[in-house]
């Protein structure tokens, strides 16, 4: 008989499937590379080098993994409740905005405290954004699919307005960004290889794992995701759980924004996120909605992103081809997880239909 939790056999199968996906993607990607006249062997060697070849490469890869994995964890928690959080972008921008405001305005404080406050502010900002979507869902029954996307636009344009006016860097020659954060507020890199954000990542994944697997709230979340009727009958506060889940997703999205701001970007602009919020959705899907899976998927995508973009100039890969290559990898990874993707999309369709009524 089948057990409820993923058994060892399933894990092995998943690893085999993932490996097959990576090989398949490389083969398809090779077609694009060849059509650009790129030296294949050299290109793949370079991609490997640039993702894991040196401590510097590993650091960059981890930095790329941080925002998508944090957002992905938030998306994953929501997935398990059958809720679609597409608001990662907005949560990232609001988180980064809150963090940059705190860090720039309290720059007199000592570094560690400043970092702590910056990260906390990021979570508050993102949590606010997730909480709005959660409130609209639990109070008014509005589909989170729609509200989270709309909130993305609102957050983006708030930031865009601010970085072109009130908080624009006066010495920035008119670029739409804020002043750089003080050096003492930057997240440290441990041993020149492990960025502090990567530690945040593991901690966040662990917290999400405990939440989902070892608390009654986690059971509520999963029960909600498996269908409302049983949970409602058993006495779960269905609406409250829906709100909590989006709030948690927002906290993690906000943390993603703050961690990227303090860890790498150094300043907030209106081109701050290259779509991390949506890559985070992919990350959670590839991770099958589990904490560990999302962590692994986030690291994989982070290493691929960093490797491919790092190899671009040396191997002569055009930007468009590099993007295609990354897309092919993500697509193949999603394909091997199709069962879970289809199930979530179907649920999303139901939740849209409910919203229409």
């Amino acid at each position: 008989m089948r057990r409820a939790l993923t058994g060892r056999g399933d894990t092995v199968m998943l690893i085999v499937r993932t490996a097959a996906a990576l090989v398949g993607a490389a083969l398809v990607g090779a077609i694009f590379l060849l059509s650009d006249g790129v030296d294949l062997i050299f290109a793949f060697e370079e991609i490997l080098n640039q993702s894991v070849g040196s401590s510097f490469a590993i650091k960059n890869s981890l930095i790329d993994a941080v925002p998508i994995t944090l957002v992905g964890l938030g998306v994953a928690v929501a997935f398990r409740a059958g809720i679609f959080n597409l608001g990662g972008e907005g949560q990232i921008y609001m988180g980064a905005l809150a963090a940059v405001l705190v860090v720039l305005n309290l720059s007199g404080l000592p570094g560690p405290l400043l970092i702590l406050l910056g990260l906390a502010a990021g979570m508050v900002g993102g949590g606010l954004w997730g909480g709005i979507a959660g409130g609209l869902r639990s109070r008014l029954g509005l589909s989170e699919i729609i509200t989270t996307i709309m909130l993305n636009f609102i957050a983006f344009w708030i930031v865009s307005y601010l970085v072109r006016g009130p908080i624009q860097d006066p010495g920035g020659a008119g670029y739409p960004y804020t002043e750089e954060i003080p050096a003492k507020a930057e997240l440290p890199v441990i041993g020149g290889m492990i960025p502090f954000g990567a530690i945040l990542l593991v901690v966040a994944a662990a917290v999400v794992w405990v939440l989902l697997e070892r608390t009654r709230m986690g059971i509520s979340i999963k029960s909600l995701g498996a269908g409302e009727a049983a949970g409602r009958f058993a006495g779960l506060k269905v609406e409250r759980t829906g709100f909590n889940v989006l709030l948690i997703a927002g906290l993690l999205g906000g943390l993603a924004g703050a961690a990227s701001l303090l860890g790498n970007e150094g300043r907030l602009s209106d081109f701050f996120s290259p779509g991390w919020g949506f890559i985070g959705v992919m990350t959670a899907l590839i991770g099958r909605g589990t904490a560990v899976g999302t962590l692994v998927a986030g690291l994989m995508i982070g290493f691929l992103t960093s490797g491919i973009s790092g190899a671009q100039s040396a191997a002569g890969i055009p930007t468009a081809t590099a993007q295609i290559l990354l897309g092919v990898f993500v697509l193949f990874l999603i394909i091997v997880n199709t069962d879970i993707v289809v199930r979530h999309l179907r649920r999303a369709a139901f939740s849209l239909r409910r919203a229409e009524r």
């Binding site: 008989m1 409820a4 939790l5 608390t215 999963k222 029960s223 498996a226 409602r232 058993a234 006495g235």
Partner: protein
């Protein structure tokens, strides 16, 4: 008159369960033929076989004197048999015309369809704006669209599956007019119902099914509701199972004037008063759709009553979402164990921890401990296999039900409410669950069993109430009411209805 439909020796088994057992059934041309029976008597199975939705294990079907093999609704329609479902199978977001088009009316062109509809309308009024969206139409009009759809496809025998259950009184009158019109134009109508008064009013002949067997067929004018009620409910299978009488204890669960108005503004429950005392089992009988659902939702605190109140040991019963672990005094066995009772994708131990019944687990629990606790509980309740890591969906129905009992009785509630607790279970599981109820009664628990299975109600109950059209009759002490009387109440007649042997005199 030659039979238009003749079904001979129809046998259909689902696993060990025999849904229809060697059933013979005949419909003449130009008659309304009522098909009566309790839930699970085999009416729906027999009609699904006639409509090709279900393939019989044995038996012979003739339509118009020719033997037919029905492997799907398309074959049935081809043979001249159509079905109108209680909740018409239409696409709500499309218009009437679009639905008819989808239903295969006409030759596939719009013009062909309009001609086909016009042809039908000459005999049978559609009386619906063709461009109207189905979702804006009342149920009666939707049923009419289905009738037209059948007629336009040349159907001669129409099966109406409990059409009146979803209609208002006026709409029922309209439907009966339509049925007469159909019969006059040479069609036959098979009318499935539980309601004796309607059967007497509209049908020419009536057949009664009980427990998968055909009890008999009569001319409606030559029988009477009392005889039909008796034919429907039959004799108790095992009258000696119930032990002892009610014990006089204090009332633990009390409903005071509870009424429920549903989303459509219908009164689905009207002024229900009910006490359940400690150490007794109160059974609520009734045909499905007469208020069981709203009553069942009320008692576990899922849906508050529109009017009236529910008291648990004298205190108002709060909505289940507000229950605290320490004050769960009510165990609930829901009707649909697969949807409401359990999360099928989740493991048993997780299912046991869903809801407020379980003991304190602490903020972050150890899975090992929880699984161990679950194993002990599953063993205690005889779940087989007692493996907490199995998914709930992998257990048999009887074992799923035991898991629900385990969870709901975990907090030792003083009151237990169950809805159709043994539906779809095999005999052994049924017996085990009945014994569980009797044991609870022995422990002084107040038990309320709402069931459409009359055998279950009579076997278990110390007092029996009957729901009909949202009203509760009784409960009466079990030894003061017999099955025939319950049958009459279930069919909406008074207990004292005299059996008029001349027949038909009732109405």
């Amino acid at each position: 008159m030659p039979a238009l439909v003749r079904m001979n020796g129809i046998v259909k088994k689902f696993g060990d369960f025999t849904a229809t057992n060697n059933v013979d059934f005949e419909v003449e041309g130009g008659e309304v033929h009522a098909l009566l029976g309790e839930n699970g008597a085999g009416k729906t199975t027999l009609m699904n076989i006639l409509y090709g939705l279900c393939i019989p294990d044995r038996g012979r079907i003739e339509v118009d004197g020719r033997e037919v093999e029905l492997n799907g609704p398309a074959d049935a329609i081809e043979a001249g048999v159509g079905m109108v479902h209680q909740h018409p199978l239409l696409v709500d977001r499309l218009s009437v015309v679009e639905n008819l088009f989808l239903g295969g009316v006409g030759n596939g062109t719009e013009r062909g369809m309009r001609e086909a509809i016009a042809e039908v309308e000459a005999r049978f009024p559609l009386d619906v704006e063709p461009g109207a969206l189905v979702e804006d139409l009342p149920m009666s009009k939707r049923q009419r669209i289905e009738i037209v759809r059948c007629l336009a496809r040349g159907v001669r025998v129409l099966v109406l599956d409990e059409p009146t259950a979803v209609l208002t009184v006026d709409e029922v009158g309209d439907l009966f007019g339509e049925m007469r019109l159909l019969v006059e134009s040479g069609h036959s109508v098979i009318f499935i119902s539980h309601k004796l008064s309607e059967v007497s009013r509209i049908s020419d002949r009536v057949s009664v099914l009980r427990g998968g067997r055909m009890v008999g067929t009569w001319r409606t004018g030559e029988t009477n509701p009392g005889a039909l009620a008796e034919a429907m409910v039959g004799e108790p299978v095992d009258p000696a199972r119930r032990a002892g009488g009610p014990r006089a204890g204090r009332a633990r669960l009390a409903l005071r004037g509870c009424s429920v108005v549903d989303e459509d503004g219908q009164d689905v429950l009207q002024g229900v008063d009910l006490d359940v005392h400690e150490g007794e089992i109160v059974g609520i009988a009734g045909v499905e759709g007469n208020g069981q659902r709203p009553l069942a939702a009320l008692t576990p605190g899922v849906q508050p009553p529109t009017r009236g109140e529910i008291l648990l040991d004298g205190d108002r019963l709060p909505p289940v979402g507000e229950w605290r672990r320490r004050d769960v005094k009510l165990g609930r066995i829901p009707e649909d164990r697969r949807k409401e009772g359990l999360t099928l994708d989740a493991a048993l131990w997780e299912n046991l921890l869903t809801g407020p019944q379980c003991p304190d687990t602490g903020r972050v629990f150890s899975k090992k401990k929880m699984v161990e606790r679950a194993r002990v509980l599953l063993e205690e309740f005889g779940v087989s296999p007692p493996d907490p890591l199995l998914e709930a969906g992998q257990l048999s129905g009887g074992n799923q039900q035991k898991v629900i009992f385990a969870r709901e009785l975990w907090s030792d509630p003083g009151v237990v409410v169950a809805v159709n607790p043994t539906r779809g279970l095999d005999l052994r599981a049924q017996r085990e669950i009945h014994e569980r109820f009797l044991a609870l009664r022995g422990q002084g628990v107040a038990v309320l069993v709402i069931s459409t299975d009359l055998d279950e109600v009579t076997a278990l109950s110390d007092r029996i109430g009957v729901l009909y059209a949202g009203r509760l009759d009784g409960p009466h002490p079990a030894d003061e009411i017999d099955r025939k009387e319950i049958g009459l109440l279930m069919a909406g007649l008074s207990r004292q209805t005299e059996f008029d042997t001349e027949g038909g005199g009732l109405l």
